[in-house]
């Protein structure tokens, strides 16, 4: 999967934009091709994405870009059937009036060229309002990488318009669920962020849960029952080779694993004799160290973005609440004080928020709070919503949503995505019922 990805980034400056730039600079730049997603209200940016010229895959590339941007909730992809200018030349300035005429603030054009067994893909984002090029990039890669190229282009557009890093060139690991509840198959799958290239990582013979990516995406850790009636263990598995190994040989049950931001450690829970504590394991040397020592349930540990702290949930105070401690253990302090039980804390890759699952009388919710516990905001709620995971830009979350079981039949379980304002939620398509999503970092280029 992680085929070597040779790519040249050559940022096109104003090769063609000279004239347009001069024209554009006369008018003050109205900020219509930019969006501040943290503002309480905004209109999605209307954007026209023309099928890339030069090769049949060009239409597919444009389709992936449209889908990515539309699904972010920040863009409105204008239907190609309404386009006025039909003869767009990817290497020349467009007729801006035609694109203003269809209500576009941005226009994306591109072309695909065969280049000695590789494909060369160029694209430009035009600021239609101002009448000048906003950004443009050129890539060279194997033809089979066309979907990744499309996601990388969508990320560049997203970044230029929002000022935030994109998150489209990423993958999602999750638990695929099939069969009746009495004998449910739960196996780990990995797919692209948009649902493409789905494949299975475990065989489904025994239950496997809670997959988490390493920072390089080369490995995942997860919990699985080694045999049907053997207590769960944490496994480390190479995604490409499929080679898997037991991570640690603790008495009792080990579960809830998660990598440190630098990938050198895995933190997890170990249960024995009714107590559940948090341990850290060195991935290479396999040295293990106990980080909490309580008679309570300490679980769902997650490192801070800088790796110096760990947030986890514990019922040591009577009910399940969120606590932060030093990554070396110690200095434990409670940060959640609202009504209800708090669980599955995940530290934002940006370091500004902690997302969590909250259980209260009215049901389940997904929320965020600042890392000191203040400023709690709920983003989604339902009969059962659980397990938030951050997009690498820290501005979008994925989680899972389960409907009630009825008549002996399992309620549907689906992945959902929501932005940090809670304004825009959508279902993420999966081939089967799906739970426990884990969003990868950006795929290394």
């Amino acid at each position: 999967m992680n085929t070597r990805f040779a790519m040249k980034f050559s940022r096109r400056s104003t090769i063609l934009g000279g004239a347009a730039l001069a024209a554009g600079s006369a008018a003050p730049a109205r900020a219509q091709l930019t969006i501040d997603m943290t503002k309480p209200s905004f209109e999605p940016v209307p954007i026209a994405i023309v099928d890339f010229s030069g090769d049949r895959v060009g239409a597919d590339i444009a389709g992936v870009i449209r889908n990515d941007l539309q699904n972010s909730g920040l863009f409105r992809s204008i239907s190609p059937s309404s386009f006025i200018q039909r003869d767009v030349d990817a290497s020349a300035a467009p007729r801006f009036a035609d694109w203003r005429g269809v209500g576009a603030a941005g226009l994306v054009v591109g072309q695909v060229q065969q280049a000695g067994g590789n494909i060369k893909v160029d694209f430009r984002l035009w600021d239609v309002v101002v009448g000048q090029q906003a950004t443009g990039l050129s890539f060279n890669s194997q033809p089979s990488n066309w979907r990744r190229l499309a996601h990388i282009i969508a990320d560049a557009i997203y970044k230029r318009v929002t000022g935030e890093e994109g998150y489209f060139d990423t993958r999602v690991a999750y638990v695929s669920e099939t069969g009746p509840l009495s004998s449910r198959t739960k196996r780990i799958a990995i797919m692209d962020q948009d649902g493409a290239n789905n494949r299975y990582i475990t065989d489904g013979r025994t239950i496997a849960l809670t997959p988490r990516f390493s920072p390089t995406l080369q490995e995942i850790v997860y919990m699985a029952y080694p045999e049907d009636r053997t207590p769960p263990r944490v496994f480390l598995q190479n995604v490409d080779s499929g080679r898997r190994e037991l991570l640690g040989n603790f008495p009792g049950m080990s579960f809830a694993p998660r990598f440190s931001p630098d990938g050198t450690k895995v933190v997890m829970s170990i249960s024995a004799e009714g107590r559940t504590n948090i341990y850290e394991m060195d991935v290479r040397g396999r040295a293990q160290r106990r980080l909490t020592n309580s008679a309570a349930i300490d679980t769902s540990p997650c490192y801070s973005n800088d790796g110096t702290q760990i947030v986890f949930n514990s019922d040591r105070g009577g009910t399940q609440q969120l606590y932060i401690m030093s990554a070396a253990g110690g200095g434990e302090r409670r940060i959640s004080f609202g009504e209800g039980r708090y669980a599955t804390p995940v530290w934002s890759p940006r370091g500004d928020y902690i997302a969590f699952t909250k259980i209260s009388g009215s049901g389940f919710g997904i929320g965020v709070m600042r890392t000191d516990g203040s400023g709690e905001r709920m983003l989604a709620s339902g009969f059962l919503v659980e397990g938030p995971t951050w997009a690498p830009n820290g501005r979008v979350l994925m989680f899972f949503r389960q409907q009630p079981n009825s008549g002996g039949r399992a309620g549907s379980v689906t992945l959902a995505q929501v932005d940090i304002t809670g304004r825009f939620e959508r279902q993420v398509p999966t081939p089967t019922d799906a739970s426990d999503p884990a969003w990868s970092p950006l795929i290394p280029q």
Partner: protein, 153 residues
């Protein structure tokens, strides 16, 4: 093998009853048709599960009665090692419920050990909320899902 033997015994008894008298078969309560010391005997006449309150792992009085019967039976039939499975209802998070199931299984294990069952005969395992039985999403189903199941090996 034990399961198969138990079923064979049940079938034979029903067959014999049918031969001798139809009235007798109809009158016989189900509990008399299992072989003492069998898995079916344990499940039907002793009870293989105890139930818990929401988010709790304290053995309730009704659970203590069941575990007392289990201890008595296990002392009589000493050939079975057991595995105590801890389960939860779906109204908790996955990882927390795995730990809660372990705590519930451990509570029953400690109770049986205190009644004189050797610790070496007992294994525990948690299934968290992964194996609901029955598969409902109402108070009644949740109450039955918060359980320990003692499985004879």
């Amino acid at each position: 093998m034990r399961t198969i033997k138990a079923f064979a015994a049940i079938a034979a008894m029903i067959f014999m009853a049918a031969c001798s008298s139809n009235e007798q078969q109809a009158a016989a309560p189900a509990t008399t048709t299992v072989t003492p010391g069998s898995v079916a005997d344990f499940r039907q006449n002793v009870g293989d599960r105890v139930f818990f309150d929401t988010d709790m792992s304290v053995i309730r009085p009704d659970g203590r009665e069941t575990l007392n019967r289990q201890a008595e039976w296990l002392k009589k039939y000493t050939n079975y090692p057991i595995t105590i499975e801890g389960h939860c209802d779906e109204r908790g998070t996955r990882e927390y419920n795995l730990a809660l199931g372990e705590r519930r299984a451990n509570a029953a294990s400690q109770y049986l050990i205190a009644q004189g069952i050797p610790a070496a005969r007992i294994k525990t395992i948690s299934f968290g909320k992964e194996n609901p039985d029955p598969p409902g999403s109402d108070e009644g189903a949740w109450a039955r899902n918060r359980r320990d199941v003692t499985a004879l090996q």
